[in-house]
Symmetry: D2
Amino acid sequence: MENCVFQLEFKVRDYECDLQGIVNNAVYQNYLEHARHEFLQTVGLNFKDLNDRGIKAVVARADLQYKFPLQSNDRFVVKLRCEQKGVRTMFYQNIYRLPDEKLCLKGIITSTTLVNGKLAICDEIVKAIQI
Amino acid sequence: MENCVFQLEFKVRDYECDLQGIVNNAVYQNYLEHARHEFLQTVGLNFKDLNDRGIKAVVARADLQYKFPLQSNDRFVVKLRCEQKGVRTMFYQNIYRLPDEKLCLKGIITSTTLVNGKLAICDEIVKAIQI
Amino acid sequence: MENCVFQLEFKVRDYECDLQGIVNNAVYQNYLEHARHEFLQTVGLNFKDLNDRGIKAVVARADLQYKFPLQSNDRFVVKLRCEQKGVRTMFYQNIYRLPDEKLCLKGIITSTTLVNGKLAICDEIVKAIQI
Amino acid sequence: MENCVFQLEFKVRDYECDLQGIVNNAVYQNYLEHARHEFLQTVGLNFKDLNDRGIKAVVARADLQYKFPLQSNDRFVVKLRCEQKGVRTMFYQNIYRLPDEKLCLKGIITSTTLVNGKLAICDEIVKAIQI
């Protein structure tokens, strides 16, 4: 992934696999969310703290292309880059199995911010992620 | 189950099954929690509303005996009775597969209440569940 | 939703809500998956049974537009229609809060079938869903 | 914890927290399961591989004492010791918050083994965990 600004390694946990023996589709959104929140930490933002201050970062759209299934015992990395487009922050997040870097998921997460219940650009977030 | 005061029917959802093809152990706690919260509704208590008012009902202990595994497509019922013991509310919750009523789980959930951060008997809850 | 062929009612369970007090984004995929599998049952197909026979129905893409958040205590309905496009089965799945039918999520799930590990049209599925 | 034979560090992920803003009770079982399966790896056993060979390690009982809630951003460690008692393997698993080592959960997981569907002592497991 070009212009990757953050990456986080994980290992599949067996409870994340379903009866097909592969990681359940919904779980990939857990991985992506955790990677985004850890990325925010690295630029000085804490998701829970933002939330407690009335700044609700919410997902407006998730577009997930499943390329290859992760399974029990797999290690993998979530890579992330992001850009601001008006009120929307776009997170491009790919998942690669390790160590062979096989692409498993291509994700585009569109998030927006509600400040005191209204759609708004949150300068604090916009500045922080322009790294 | 004797003195059952509430019961709720469910159907296993495939994402709740793990790579052994049976419902993952942790998921049974989800079932029990949902049944407790639905029971509370029937006696006029709402878990989120209590929480928003600073009354935190928390689980102090969960003792779960797994008797027979639920699997894909199974229907089942959670049956519940409860009693107050000092600051603790004891929820006895069994899960039976349907339609054969085979016992799948015997659970004892001990819950307590933190009111504004301190362990306390919450009269509102105690009165409500003495039905 | 026009041409809806199946709908399934749910109630939000409190464990599905995250620290923002709303249903976590990933959980909507759980709802959609369960609705698809229940739909398949109505046309004579069982997801686990297909899987056990080497027919792996997998999600190739999930495009989810989050319109309005579900929260504790909400009832909602997942409505579904589907169409076959070559090797891909497209499931259009919307979630509406009840009773006001407010649109909460618009989802397009693209699924394909691996028969004995190879991408293939599964006649059994294609015929069953052409209702 | 005395005689601890394995420990694994984790960080709370925000999706694991519920509307009370703390890790949901069921999620602790996920942590314990993952720690057990990682422990098994260190003694040469793989949970999925055992399962594929007809050796089903199942939880017969989970006794979980919740001492202090984990919350967003917490790091913690699961410590584990185990002993064999007849057909049962007992896993004593405690969770401590880091870095202050505050005890959050005391768990006793009783597991048994079904070999080709029958309750049996699995020598392979018994030998491996006698370290």
